[in-house]
Symmetry: C2
């Protein structure tokens, strides 16, 4: 269903490119504009029919009635003042950043009609080459309105995600970052650290267990440095709880406390089994 005339997507990588494809497939916009730093990405996006027009210059977004910021977290924050100067009056703005407190605090002050979004649909893959129109279907999209959020903008952004097939949940930016620090940021950090610990010469003995456990360590490094730094305090808190948990398993193992080990593992299995 047509919700917008012109949608501009700033950052046409995995998520931005997938959004363009999904918006096109669902007929949500008359025209889709893409902005990328990389000429190659724009050429590929146009050739694949992902975007109608593309440019390396932000000026191209000026007539959009929705701007979606899909760059790394720090770029979202740093580019906001420049984007404000370009957009027309009444333009809705959302972003798809993986942490929300720093972004919503800044963008909520800058843009009159802004809503923070976080579609939980990423993967360790990156780039428009891996984009697909269906990655949001049956996924969860967290919106992070505040008491200052424009209600009309919120309704429309919510409709956008629903049209893309996502389930929508509202959380405060604070709750979002706290929860995601456990469910996403900590697992990524642990995966980076785990593969970092395995001596290189042992990698040829990697089995599916190691591969699964560290799959997300193949994610874009710069993107994740950005995410970690943007929610530093929450993530450090999550790391410290993990460190305590790991230490207690280690000490049970040191003491050969079979019963306690069994209890810990059974409880962990129960929690893992509860995930789809």
């Amino acid at each position: 269903m047509r919700l917008f005339n012109k949608v501009a997507i700033v950052g046409t990588g995995l998520i931005g490119g997938s959004l363009a494809l999904a918006i096109k497939k669902k007929g949500i916009a008359r025209e889709i504009i893409g902005v990328s730093r990389h000429k190659k990405t724009l050429l590929l996006a146009k050739r694949r029919g992902v975007i109608d027009k593309g440019s390396q210059n932000l000026n191209i977004i000026k007539d959009a009635d929705l701007v979606i910021l899909a760059t790394p977290v720090s770029t979202i924050i740093n580019s906001a003042p420049k984007i404000l100067k370009l957009i027309k009056k009444g333009c809705l703005v959302t972003d798809v950043g993986s942490t929300k407190q720093a972004i919503v605090s800044k963008l909520g002050r800058i843009f009159p009609k802004y809503v923070g979004s976080h579609p939980l649909a990423g993967s360790e893959k990156r780039g428009i080459i891996n984009a697909g129109p269906d990655i949001f279907r049956d996924s969860l999209c967290i919106l992070t309105p505040t008491k200052n959020t424009d209600r009309e903008a919120l309704d429309k952004i919510k409709r956008l995600w629903l049209e893309l097939g996502a389930r929508v949940v509202f959380l405060t930016p604070h709750a979002h970052d706290n929860i995601l620090s456990f469910t996403s940021h900590l697992p990524h950090l642990v995966a980076f650290s785990l593969i970092g610990t395995v001596p290189k010469k042992y990698l040829r003995f990697a089995s599916s267990g190691l591969k699964d456990t560290t799959r997300v360590a193949a994610s874009d490094s710069q993107l994740w440095v950005d995410i970690f730094l943007s929610s530093q305090k929450n993530i450090i808190k999550a790391i410290e709880l993990f460190q305590e948990n790991l230490s207690s398993i280690k000490s049970a193992l040191k003491r050969k406390d079979k019963r306690l080990l069994a209890e810990i593992l059974i409880e962990a299995k129960k929690k893992r089994d509860s995930l789809a």
Copy 2:
């Protein structure tokens, strides 16, 4: 190709059941005998054609020319003396335990014709219900001969795994346990600890990152308590190296050391990308 007359598999779970199916499919034995503590497992195994005969009583193995021990590590060790009393002269014995020093040290002393095996073909699933004849194809199987290992037994066990489609590598039990403590045991322990750290009420926000990183925490708890305890020292060493690595990432994050974080993540990504 027929290598054995009668193969007895003690423990017809995921690996034991899959071995029975694979040995049958390849025509490696004339007859396949299964031993399980569980009547239900034996009934299912017979109904599915996994085994030709089954019993809860070990006596059934007495005419076998190959006995494969596919029970948890501690059961492999504890049942060895009883099995020695039952098998006929010249019977080959192997096991599929996930740690090798404790097992090989004991079984190598007990059985005249013993070779330790570790097919890297398990998963978080368990039971004969999940067994399949092809799980060893293109997998890696580590054999752990010692200077006392009977060469004829070694050749024959090696041929068995090759016939099942595995690539075979020889390691000392010591090297095996050291390597696997990093490539398999640590990732499992980390996965148990990671899901244990995520507050229950946050689990509904789990995305593919958390699911992959903790998939192996759905593994059988008792089996893994057993594995952890049987190679306790190696695993504690691996945990401690991981703890150091994680601490250094945490302190880089605390100091907001963007450059060091990027270096660590890039190095981790390189290692992960090198895995298939």
